[in-house]
Each structure stands twice: as C-alpha cells, then as structure tokens.
C-alpha cells in the first residue's frame, strides 16, 4: 500500500514537473506558427552589424561560427550573449540571358557547399552557408543590373534557448519516470507511467526536431535570386531606305517634310 502511494506521488510529481515547464502540444504548434511571423531584426541593426557587414569586410562572422557550433543540435545551447539569426534575401537583377545567369549562379552556390531549394524558370531559391550569404548577393549583383534587393534577419535566440531548457527538463522528467517504472508493480501504475512516458518522448522528439530545424535555418541562409531578361532594345533608328515602285510615295515622308520643306 505504501509502495503504491509512493509510486503515485512520484508519478504526480513528474506530471506536475513536466506540466509546469513544458508547454502542451497545441502551444508548441502555436510557437511554430509564430516563428514564421516573428519580428525581424532590421538590416541596419545588430543583425547586419554581426553578419552582413563583417562578412563584407572579410572579418570573422559570428553567424558562421554559430553554424559550426550548431551542427550538432544536441551539443548544447550557445551563449546567451550571441544572437541566433536566420538570414533571408531576395534580389532581382536584369541580365542578358536569364537562364545562363541562373545556371552560373547555381554552380557558384554548389561550389560554396550550398544547394538549390527551388527553381521557377530563371528564379532560383538557394540555401548557402551563412558565411557566404553576402558573397552570394554580391555574385548576383555582379551579373547584371540590380532592380530590387531586400534582406532580413530573424532573431530566434530566445526560442532556441527556451527549447534547450525545456528539452533538458523533459529529459530529466523522463529519467525519473523510468525509475518509477522500474519500481512499479501494479499493472495500473505501469500503464499510467508508460502512457506518460510516451507523451513525454513525443514532446522531446518534437522539441529536438524544432531545434534541429532552427539550427539548419541559422547555419544556411536562404536567398532567392530572380534573373530577368533585359528589355528588348528599340529597333535601330533607321533602316536603309527602300524606294517604292510608285513615284508619289517616294515624294512623301517625314524626311521631305523636315528637310527641304
């Protein structure tokens, strides 16, 4: 009787512990949705100072350092003093041969370790290592005349750190539940603990997946480059004159009006 009471107390404790620190599944899903609409850091703000500008000057890029650090999502959260930024950019350039330009750009991206995410005609969306983000933009700029360009950086530091804390708590709770499971002898208790273990495991997997997604987004910038054909040049100002077979037609025209009037 005492043992059952102990098991139940431990189970309630574990439940309260996870309930207080880990949000429920719908809340987690909401966090995912909110991520896409998160407030973006201005290009001229901290993000630009840390990533774009320094990369342009060939200095050490904190974002690149983080990308290496985050290759293993389970390796631990980065220091809170560093910002985790997801870089995105769009650029529209006018070139003579859009298809060729897109192909050349893709070759360059592949050489940098990036890859093609999607393509629609001469519009390509690529993922490039964040350290090469500015280089990629510069490469596109160099191919023609820039018609439009935009860049943005989403700060996901808070979400990433929060996920780390929640994961740690959830893992500890799971370990405690496993201990409880070993001590439980009643079928009813075992079933309850196992159900809670399943829920907790799913929660942990979901959080790990989200952390991995964020790591990937931070490590690789997304750039959409659209190559547009140069507008057709107007026809040459004048072609060699061809005489009409009818004399009166040869006598009319803007030349005679503007010349020997």
């Amino acid at each position: 009787m005492m043992r059952t009471f102990t098991v139940l107390c431990a189970l309630i404790g574990a439940l309260l512990s996870t309930a207080c620190q880990a949000p429920s599944a719908p809340e987690t899903a909401l966090a995912y949705d909110e991520f896409d609409q998160s407030v973006v850091a201005s290009q001229s703000g901290e993000a630009r100072a840390g990533g774009f500008a320094k990369a342009n000057r060939g200095e050490r890029n904190p974002a690149a350092d983080r990308s290496a650090q985050m290759a293993d999502p389970g390796a631990g959260a980065p220091p809170a003093s560093e910002r985790l930024l997801i870089y995105r950019g769009d650029i529209l350039v006018e070139v003579a041969r859009p298809e060729d330009a897109a192909r050349a750009f893709l070759d360059t991206v592949k050489a940098w370790g990036g890859y093609l995410q999607s393509q629609n005609g001469a519009s390509v969306t690529v993922r490039v290592p964040v350290a090469k983000f500015d280089d990629a933009l510069a490469a596109v700029r160099g191919m023609g005349r820039v018609l439009d360009e935009s860049r943005q950086a989403n700060d996901v530091t808070e979400e990433y750190l929060d996920l780390g804390i929640r994961l740690d708590t959830a893992r500890k709770a799971r370990e405690r539940l496993l201990e409880v499971l070993q001590k439980a002898d009643k079928v009813e208790d075992i079933l309850k603990v196992e159900a809670e273990l399943r829920r907790l495991t799913e929660e942990i997997e979901r959080m790990e997946g989200r952390r991995k997604f964020l790591s990937d987004q931070v490590a690789l910038a997304t750039l959409t480059a659209t190559f547009q054909a140069i507008e057709q040049a107007p026809p040459p100002p004048s072609r060699p004159k061809q005489r009409s077979r009818f004399p009166w037609v040869n006598r009319v025209g803007a030349e005679s009006m503007m010349g020997g009037f």
């Binding site: 004048s238 061809q242 009166w248 025209g253 030349e255 009037f261």
Partner: protein, 159 residues
C-alpha cells in the same frame, strides 16, 4: 439686253471659278502660318516648327483608296517608319480619305508623321486621276501636342 445678261453671267461664273481656284486647299489649325514663299503645294508652319503641307500628286495607276493606303503603309514601313494609328476622314467636299500616323527617325531625331490621302477621280473624260495628300510632321513632342488639331483640320481640305 439678252447679250448683256449673258456677258454678266459669264463674268460671274468666271469670278466664282477664279475664287474657287485661289481658295486655300485647307484651313490649318490656329498657330499655323501659311507660307507665301515659292514651294510645292500649300504649306503652313508653327513657331515650334510643326510642318503641314497639302498637295496634289499625279498617279496614272487607278488604285482605289484602300490600295493606296495599304501601299503607303507598307512602303513607309519598308523605309523604317513605325505605324502608330489610322483613321478615316471626310474632307470639305464630303470625299472620304484615310489618315495614318507613324513614328520615324530623321537624322537621329524621333519625329511624328501624319499622312492623309484622298483619291480624286477626274471630272473630265480626258482628265487624269490624282491623289490629294496632306502631310504633317514635327519632332515627337510637338507632334503629339498638335496632331489632334491637325486631324480635325483635315475635314477642311478642299476637293
């Protein structure tokens, strides 16, 4: 008395014919000044160098209006003119003609050009048909500013 009346009628008819022959072939839009110096046809200009001319050009081939307008459009196109617009116009005598507008390049300058054509059949059995041609040209900006007034004035072309 009867002879005197006949003489008076003859003089009146002569004056009327003379007046008709001397009348300007069209009433140009305001701002146009008719040139008096020797030159081909009726000519008028503006201070911003828009130029208007009406003249009769002999053509032995008896082509209809459509034939001549198509020929004109095609042959001017072959000379590098870019066709812009076209329309129909009745002159002061109720004769139907057609006008065409073009963009052309004259010595590196973009020029607007309008040409209107009426086919005039001979009134006498031994007469030859001819074409009454009205032309208007100016640098593009001036052309655009004045072309509508010129199109309206085409209705005043005689014959």
């Amino acid at each position: 008395m009867r002879t005197c009346r006949r003489i008076l009628a003859f003089v009146a008819a002569s004056i009327a014919l003379f007046a008709a022959a001397c009348a300007a072939p069209m009433q140009p839009p305001t701002d146009f000044v008719v040139l008096q110096d020797p030159g081909e046809g009726f000519r008028a200009i503006t201070s911003d160098d828009a130029r208007l001319r009406v003249r009769d050009l002999a053509e032995p081939t008896k082509g209809g209006l459509n034939f001549w307008v198509d020929t004109l459009a095609q042959d001017l196109g072959a000379r590098g003119y870019e066709r812009k617009d076209q329309g129909e116009v009745k002159n002061a005598a109720g004769r139907t003609g057609r006008w065409l507008t073009f963009a052309a390049n004259v010595q590196g300058e973009k020029v607007g050009y309008l040409v209107a054509v009426w086919v005039v059949e001979p009134t006498l059995p031994w007469g030859a048909p001819f074409l009454r041609v009205a032309e208007f040209a100016a640098v593009d900006a001036v052309f655009q500013a004045r072309v509508e007034a010129v199109k309206a004035a085409l209705a005043t072309v005689q014959g």
